[in-house]
Symmetry: C2
Subunit: 321 residues, 2 copies
């Protein structure tokens, strides 16, 4: 069975970029055509909204699947629509898998004992999308409850060729409240990183990265640099580029010399590109998919210019292993 | 609109006990009759299992609704069954609301910005069960991402008469890894408690408790005592009684002199009472509901004997305000 890191890095090498596109549907921001199409369908408001989210997610995937290795659906926006939203999420995740994308469920789950096992079993499908209720390749997990709350996720990930991304240092201002608290072993996020490092030990595949990853915000480049050094074989998931204001050069420390080891996420600035400069000058809502494509290509080029992602071979020049 | 704490304490006073029963369905542990009934229904294995979970949850509620003020469905076990599990969870939660119970969704959600708002909107129905996708009165939330990740939950809870329980000090051994780390302001969980205290300030109803609660494991009675003092007006949710080995006397510090201010949770030792001593000597699987009732009554009596919950007036002696 191929490990998560090997499958991820194969896709990154094929696509020639470490960009992951978030799938963050918001009703108010959906293109009018998508809103109108759902208005004609039957069912409750929740069901019609969920139908629009599914349509939007699939159309977004149609645009980005040829360009990027991975997508990251934000589970909260689907969960907000109840059972209908859960059904739409599942459909979008399956569609992304069928399009050959790595799917990272951004659900930030975390619990203890058999409850953590249940969340892991629910989300960590890994190589076989039928292996779990939700067909994710990887899941974001919250470490607050301690090492024993992470172990069931790591164990399940290992057995299914899936990945977990532990929230080590998030991108929001409030992350400083607890994650940066000084302890005798450095700021607390470094204590969490140490646990991640231990869990990741001896779990590495042919690309030398294991199934245990870490979320580290690009909004804090100093911490990013520290953590990349502390976690040399841990895949990183980097939020904060785009809407949250970080530049490609701030992400540079996330990569190894071959341009591997990290995914840089962009959600809203790609999902709703036609609403933001410079794309809003060139595209209207009728051409929102063109704006998504242009924004994605621009981000890919930006990372290639300012990071070692330039070392990744471009699409088509390499056969998957 | 009645606040969460007022509604909760009214139910506690009516029932005369602070017991909350977890709803933690596990296929392997379900009574044979419930398993067999679902085997005859159509659909996938997930759908049949979800049907059994829904049946079990409702039958459990039938037994405990006359006895206790609240139930706490564990979301992970339902989520493990995909969309069908989500549908069963919704049905169980609605059934509990219709039975007059306070419903605490144990989902341990946590995220930032508009994503946190989405989770809050999804789960915090509050007084009106139709106000959210999932009809919970309260939700457990994870503080790791900082104060700004909690504020959207508090804001939504306030506006809907709902409650949030912040994971301050959990009941598992690994909780010590990060929650107990020494900082210049004491162990980290006390820093989290301080934020909870600030968020709770000026949010109190007629019973002097606000919508911002805290989860504190009964397995750590010293911390429980400290936190009760530090958080005099914060409703506590106490896991660890029963299967996790804590006694009623270890929970005593959670209550104020009137027996209010805390809920003591028991999940598996009540759900599957007929599998455990002493109930397994008296009841078999055919009489599992009798075992649930006996275990619930025994816990109520145990708390009344060893805590200030003895001050709560028994059912029937008080009219709800």
């Amino acid at each position: 069975m191929a490990s998560y890191a090997d499958r991820l890095h194969d896709r990154i090498l094929i696509k020639g970029t470490p960009v992951v596109v978030g799938i963050d549907p918001r009703w108010d921001l959906l293109p009018e055509a998508v809103q109108i199409a759902s208005a004609g369908s039957s069912g409750t408001i929740q069901e019609r909204t969920a139908s629009a989210f599914e349509t939007f997610g699939k159309l977004l995937i149609d645009v980005v699947a040829p360009l990027v290795p991975a997508v990251k659906p934000q589970v909260a926006f689907f969960e907000q629509l109840g059972v209908a939203g859960c059904r739409a999420l599942h459909a979008v995740m399956r569609y992304a898998r069928q399009a050959g994308l790595i799917v990272i469920a951004d659900a930030k789950r975390g619990d203890i004992g058999s409850t953590a096992e249940a969340y892991a079993d629910a989300w960590l499908a890994g190589e076989d999308p039928e292996a779990a209720a939700w067909p994710a390749d990887a899941l974001t997990v919250n470490p607050w409850l301690g090492r024993d709350s992470l172990e069931p996720f790591v164990s399940c990930a290992r057995s299914r060729g899936a990945g977990v991304y532990v929230l080590v240092r998030t991108s929001n201002p409030g992350a400083a409240d607890f994650q940066d608290r000084p302890t005798s072993d450095g700021p607390l996020f470094e204590c969490v990183a140490q646990v991640v490092r231990e869990l990741a030990a001896a779990e590495c595949g042919s690309h030398q990265y294991g199934p245990v990853g870490a979320v580290v915000g690009a909004t804090w480049p100093d911490q990013l640099k520290t953590l990349r050094q502390q976690l040399p074989r841990v895949p990183l998931l980097i939020p904060g580029y785009g809407s949250q204001g970080s530049s490609a050069s701030q992400c540079a420390a996330a990569f190894d010399d071959a341009g591997l080891g990290a995914l840089i996420n962009n959600s809203r600035a790609i999902n709703f590109a036609w609403l933001h400069k410079p794309w809003s000058d060139q595209f209207d809502a009728h051409h929102w998919q063109d704006a998504v494509q242009a924004a994605t290509r621009a981000m890919i080029a930006d990372l290639a210019l300012h990071t070692s992602a330039s070392q990744l071979r471009p699409a088509g020049s390499r056969t998957p292993s």
